[in-house]
Symmetry: C2
Subunit: 638 residues, 2 copies
C-alpha cells in the first residue's frame, strides 16, 4: 500500500494513502476539530488523504470552520425542503457558501417558494440539526453516481456529474436519508453547525443562462455565535434600509424604465436638482484650480478607437458600431480620444502646460444585464473626467495638486477616512524606465507629502502607467473606490501628442487621466447609502420646508418662503389641508433636512421654529438669523 506523510502540530504521521483526515487527528490526539487545512486546501475529517503535507486542524469558531459549517447548512436546508415538500418534488441545483452564509438553487414542483416560507424552512432545519445526523462521505464511480441521481430524479445533478472530468473522484455526502452530490467539506454531524438565518429568495437561471429553467435561490447567513449573527443581520437590515434603489425611488431621485433600457438612468426632478448642485460644484472647483472646461460629442468615428487601441482591447465593453456614410461610429466608452483631439487642435507650447482639460463626460459601456445594479453598475454614466498634459518637470507638482484636490473633494462630501493604493510597474509594460520612475516617485511623494499611509500593489499597475486609487469608508464601514490618478504612457505615443519646448523642438508630454468621484451615478448611489438618503444640506434637493400650523399662517409662511428663495435657498412650503404632525412626518420621510414650523407666536415675532433632522429641535430663531445659520451650513458643506 502507498503511504503518505502528514505533519500535524509539528509531528509527522505516516498513514496509508486514502486514510481519512479524522483518523490522523485521532492519532495526534485532536478531538474537537471539524476539519483541517492541508497545504492550503480546506478538507473535512472524512476526506481521504491522497497526498501528504502539513495539516492544520480547523475548530468551531474559526474562519475556516465557518466555510465548512455554512456548506453543511446548505445541505441541511436542502434536506429540510425535501422533508417539507416531499423528496420527489424538490430538485437541487448548486448550494455553495457565500461571504456571509450560503444559498441553494432549488426547484420545487408546483410550489413557488417565497420569503413567507422561510420561517417554516428554518424550523425544519433546526429539527434536522437537533437530530444530529452524522454526515457521511462516500465516493462513487461515475456510473453509480449517474444511476443514483437518476433514480432520485435530480436532473441538475446529472448535468453536474457529466461535467466532472474523467478520473476525478465523485463524492456524495449523506445525512439521515438525504444524499447530495458534493465535494465537501462538511462538519462531522448536522448538530455541529452555528447560528443561521434564511434571509431572502430570488430567481436564478440554471447555470446563469437565460435559456435554462429558472430555479429559486434561497439565501441564508450563518455565523458561529448568535451575537455575531445578530450583528450581521442588523448590518444587513441597515444595508437594506439604505439601499439606494429604494431611496432613489422614495426620494424621487431616479428611475430606470424597461422601455428605455437596462442600466440607463432617468434622473427625476429631485435627483436632477441634486445633480445640478453637484455638477456646478465640480465645475467651479475645477475652474478655480486652473482646469479648462470642454464639451465633446457622445459619438465618434472608429478611427479614434483604432488609434487609441480600444477597438482592439476593449471592444466587448463598447456599444456596437453604427455605420454612417460608409464610416463606423461608436458611442463613446471614454472621453480620452476627444480630449486628445482638442489638445491636438493646434500646436501646443510648453508655456501652456500643464493643460488640464475637464469634462462631465457621459460615456456608455456594455455590461451584462445580470450585473447591472441601480446606480452602482450601469450602462451609461457621467465621469468627472480630466486629462492633464504636462512636461516631465511638472509631474511632481501636478500629481501633488491632483491628489490634494481629490481628497479635499471627498472631504467636502463628508468622507474623511481614506485608503490609498499605489499600483506600480507590472512585468509587461510600455514606457521608459525614466517615465516609470518619475511617475511612481511623483505618486509616492504626493501621498507621503500629504502625510497619508498607503498600500503598494507591486506590479499591479496597468501596462501603460502607474496609478493611485483612493477608497473611502462609508457609514457602514464598507470601502468604495472613488478617485483614480492614472499615468498613461500609451496614448501620447499612439496619438503622437507633442508640445514645442523652450528649445523650440517637439517633445512628448506626460498625460494623466484622473477622476475624483469616478461616475456621478455610482457616486450618488454610494452617497445615498452613506447618508441613508439624508444628504447634507448643500446637496439636498429641498433644503427647507415651511409648515404653517393653520390656514391663518399661510400668508406668513409664504413670506418666509419668498425670503428664503430670494436668498438662493431651495425651500418648499406645505400648504395642504393636513395636520401639522402629518406634514412633519411627510417632510421627514422625504428626508428634508430642515423643517420650519410657523404659527401664531412665530408670526407675531417674525421668527421661525427650527427643526433640524440632524440636530433636533432648535427652538425659534429670528428669520434673518436662520438665513445666516443655514447659509453657513451650506457654505461649510455640513
Amino acid at each position: 500500500m502507498e503511504k503518505v506523510k502528514v505533519r500535524v502540530k509539528g509531528k509527522e504521521y505516516e498513514v496509508e494513502k486514502g486514510t481519512p483526515l479524522g483518523r490522523v487527528f485521532e492519532l495526534a490526539g485532536i478531538r474537537d476539530a471539524i476539519g483541517g487545512v492541508l497545504e492550503g486546501e480546506l478538507i473535512d475529517l472524512q476526506t481521504p488523504l491522497r497526498r501528504g503535507g502539513e495539516v492544520k486542524p480547523v475548530y468551531r469558531g474559526s474562519r475556516e470552520g465557518l466555510e465548512i459549517m455554512r456548506h453543511s447548512l446548505a445541505h441541511i436546508m436542502a434536506q429540510a425542503l425535501k422533508e417539507l415538500y416531499g423528496p420527489s418534488r424538490v430538485r437541487l441545483g448548486v448550494g455553495p457558501t457565500t461571504e456571509e452564509g450560503f444559498y441553494y438553487d432549488v426547484e420545487v414542483e408546483g410550489k413557488t417558494i417565497t420569503e413567507e416560507d422561510l420561517p417554516k424552512i428554518e424550523e425544519k432545519m433546526r429539527e434536522i440539526i437537533r437530530r444530529d445526523y452524522p454526515i457521511l462521505r462516500r465516493e462513487l464511480s461515475r456510473e453509480e453516481a449517474l444511476e443514483l441521481f437518476k433514480r432520485l430524479g435530480e436532473r441538475y445533478k446529472l448535468d453536474i456529474i457529466r461535467d466532472i472530468p474523467e478520473g476525478e473522484a465523485i463524492s456524495v455526502y449523506e445525512q439521515g436519508d438525504f444524499v447530495d452530490l458534493c465535494r465537501g467539506p462538511h462538519v462531522p454531524s448536522t448538530g455541529k453547525v452555528g447560528s443561521f438565518k434564511l434571509t431572502s429568495v430570488s430567481g436564478a437561471y440554471w447555470r446563469g443562462r437565460s435559456d435554462q429553467p429558472q430555479l429559486t435561490r434561497i439565501y441564508g447567513i450563518a455565523y458561529w455565535s448568535d451575537k455575531e449573527l445578530r450583528e450581521r443581520l442588523k448590518f444587513y437590515e441597515e444595508v437594506k434600509r439604505r439601499d439606494h434603489r429604494r431611496l432613489g425611488r422614495e426620494l424621487e431621485f431616479f428611475t430606470i424604465d424597461d422601455n428605455v433600457g437596462a442600466g440607463l438612468i432617468l434622473w427625476l426632478p429631485r435627483g436632477a436638482i441634486y445633480r445640478k448642485v453637484l455638477e456646478d460644484y465640480l465645475r467651479e472647483e475645477h475652474l478655480k484650480r486652473g482646469y479648462q472646461l470642454v464639451y465633446t460629442p457622445h459619438v465618434g468615428k472608429s478611427k479614434l478607437w483604432e488609434t487609441s487601441g480600444h477597438l482592439e482591447c476593449y471592444r466587448e465593453n463598447m456599444f456596437p458600431a453604427m455605420k454612417i456614410d460608409d464610416e463606423e461610429y461608436y458611442v463613446k466608452p471614454m472621453n480620452c480620444p476627444f480630449h486628445i483631439a482638442i489638445y491636438k487642435s493646434r500646436v501646443r507650447s510648453y508655456k501652456e502646460l500643464p493643460l488640464k482639460l475637464f469634462e462631465l463626460g457621459t460615456v456608455y459601456r456594455y455590461e451584462l444585464s445580470g450585473v447591472l445594479h441601480g446606480l452602482l453598475r450601469v450602462r451609461g454614466f457621467t465621469q468627472d473626467d480630466a486629462h492633464i498634459i504636462c512636461t516631465p518637470e511638472q509631474v511632481d507638482d501636478v500629481i501633488r495638486e491632483t491628489l490634494e484636490f481629490a481628497l479635499s473633494t471627498l472631504k467636502d462630501f463628508g468622507f474623511d477616512e481614506f485608503k490609498i493604493y499605489l499600483s506600480t510597474r507590472p512585468e509587461y509594460s510600455i514606457g521608459s524606465d525614466e517615465q516609470w520612475e518619475r511617475s511612481q516617485n511623483a505618486l509616492r511623494k504626493a501621498i507621503e507629502g500629504l502625510g497619508y499611509e498607503y498600500e503598494v500593489d507591486e506590479g499591479g499597475g496597468a501596462f501603460y502607467g502607474p496609478k493611485i486609487d483612493v477608497k473611502i469608508r462609508d457609514a457602514l464601514g464598507r470601502m468604495w473606490q472613488l478617485s483614480t490618478i492614472q499615468f498613461d504612457f500609451n496614448l501620447p505615443e499612439r496619438f503622437d501628442m507633442t508640445y514645442v519646448g523652450a528649445d523650440n523642438k517637439r517633445h512628448r508630454p506626460y498625460m494623466i487621466h484622473r477622476a475624483l468621484l469616478g461616475s456621478i451615478e455610482r457616486f450618488t448611489g454610494i452617497l445615498l447609502e452613506h447618508y441613508a438618503g439624508l444628504l447634507p444640506i448643500w446637496l439636498s434637493p429641498t433644503q427647507v420646508i415651511v409648515i404653517p400650523i393653520a390656514d391663518r399662517h399661510h400668508g406668513y409662511a409664504r413670506e418666509v418662503l419668498e425670503r428664503l428663495r430670494s436668498e438662493g435657498i431651495r425651500a418648499e412650503g406645505d400648504f395642504r389641508e393636513e395636520r401639522m404632525n402629518a406634514k412633519i412626518r411627510d417632510a421627514e420621510l422625504k428626508k428634508i433636512p430642515v423643517i420650519l414650523v410657523v404659527g401664531d407666536r412665530e408670526m407675531q415675532s417674525g421668527t421661525v421654529s427650527v427643526r433640524s433632522k440632524k440636530e433636533g429641535n432648535l427652538g425659534s430663531m429670528e428669520l434673518s438669523r436662520f438665513v445666516e445659520w443655514i447659509k453657513e451650513k451650506i457654505r461649510n458643506k455640513e
Copy 2:
C-alpha cells in the same frame, strides 16, 4: 395652322402657335422688354408661344428681369472659360441662377480654377458683354442634341439630355460661337446684362453624388445697378467677416475634427466657458419659472421610437440601430420619449400640473454630409428642450407664460426684432376639433396679449398640432428661426399619458414641446455672427484683460486681477514681454470686451484705465467703481 390668343396690356393678339414672344411684343408696340411672364412662367423674347394667356413684359431693372440676366451671365461666364482655356478643355455641368446671382459647375482639363483666376475670367466676360452677341434660341431633336454635344465633348450635357422626358422640347442657346443646352430664358443679347462680380469657387459633385466626378462651382452675384451690386458685395464681405466658422476658430470656441466625425462639435475651453454661462443662465431661468430639471440618457431602446412613431416617419434622420442583448438601441434624435417616461414613472395628479420638464438634451440626427455647416447645421446638438404637460384649462396660461419666456430670453441675448408665425390645422390632422380650437386660440391670444403682430400660415401646422415659431432679425438683417412652441396631440395618445383629475378619473393631458433657442450649437453660430464675435460682456469667455504697461506694474496688475476674480469676474492678465500697444491689439483681436491698462498713474491712485470695445476709452476709474460698473453691465446683460 393652330392659333393661340395672347393678351398684352389689356389687348388680345391671336398669333400662330410657336410664334416667339418678341413678335407679339412688336405687334403690341413694346420695344425695350427683355422677356415676359406668361401666366406665371418666366420666358424670353425668343420663346415660342405654345399656349395662350396673359403676358406681362419684363424690363431691365425689374425683379423678374434679374433672373433672366443672371441666367445669361452664367452662359457668358461659360463662354469666357471656353475662350480662356480652349473650348475642348472646358466641360460644362449645370449653370442655374441663385438668390443673388448665378453659378456654373465646370470641369477644366488640367487646370484647377481658384479664386485667383476670377479677375481674368471677369475681364473676359466683360469683353463678351461688349461684343453684344445676339443670344439665339434653337430647338433640336433628341438625336441632333446628342450629336451636337457629343461632338463638343460635353459629357455632362449628354447626361442631362438623356434625362429629358420624351416629347419635351430640347433647346439650345447660342451667342457668338458658344452654344449651350438650355431651357432659357435669356436676355436678347450679351450686352443686356447688369453689374456682376465673381465671388467664390468651391467643389461640387456632379449630380450631388459622391460617386460622380467633382466639378468646380464658380459663383457670381449680379444686380442691375453698380450701386446695388456694391451694397450686396459689402453685405457679403460682412457675412464673410462674421462667418462663425472663422470666428469660432480664431476665438477658440470650437473645432471639428475629421477623425471625430463631420458635424460633431468639440467645444474648446473658451467656447466651453461661454457655453457654461449660457447653460447656467438657461437652467436658472427655467427653475425660476417653475420648470423641473431632468437628465436622460443619449440612447434608448427601439420600443420608445416605435411607440413614438419616429421609426416609422423619421428613421432616415436617425443614427442607425445598435444591437444589444437582442434588442435594438438608438442614439436619441429627440428627448420627448424620455421625458414622457419620466412623466409616466408614477401616477400623476391634476394637482401637479402643469408639469414642465426641462433638459439641456443632446441629440443626434443624421444629416447629409454635404449640408453640414459649422455650428449652424450639425449632427449632434444640445436642445434647450422642455415638455409641458397640462390640463385643458391650463392651456391659455401655459402658452402665454411660454411665449413671454421665449421673447424675454431672446431679448436677454440682444435680439429685439421678432417675427412671429402661427401655423394652423392642416387638411390631414389628428386630434379633436376642440383640441385644435383650444390650442390655436391659446397661441393667438398669447401673441395678441403681448401686443405682437404675426403671420398666419393657414393649414401649415404639423398633423399633430398647431405651433408658434419666433424668428429674430440679426445685425445683418437676416432672419433666423429660434423659438418654437408646438402642441402635440399625438404622443399623449401613443404613450397613453394620463392624469387623475379632481373627479378621480383618468384624463388625457395636453402636451407642448418647446425650445427657446432651439439648439445651443446653432444659436451660438448665430450669436457669433450677429455680434461679429464681440459677445456681450456677460457671455464673453474673458470679460476683462489687465495689461500692465511695464514690468514694475505687474504687482499692481496682479492685485487688480485678484480683486476682479474674487468678484466672480472672468479676468485675465497679459504679463508677456510685449509692448502695451501690441497687447491691446491682441486683446482686441481676441474680442475681449474690456481692457484695463495699468501704469504708474493707476498704481499710485488705485485706479484702472478702462477701454471698452463697445464704448471706447472711458478714462481712469477707481477699481471699486469699475467693479460696480462691470457688474451692472453683466447684471443687465448689456
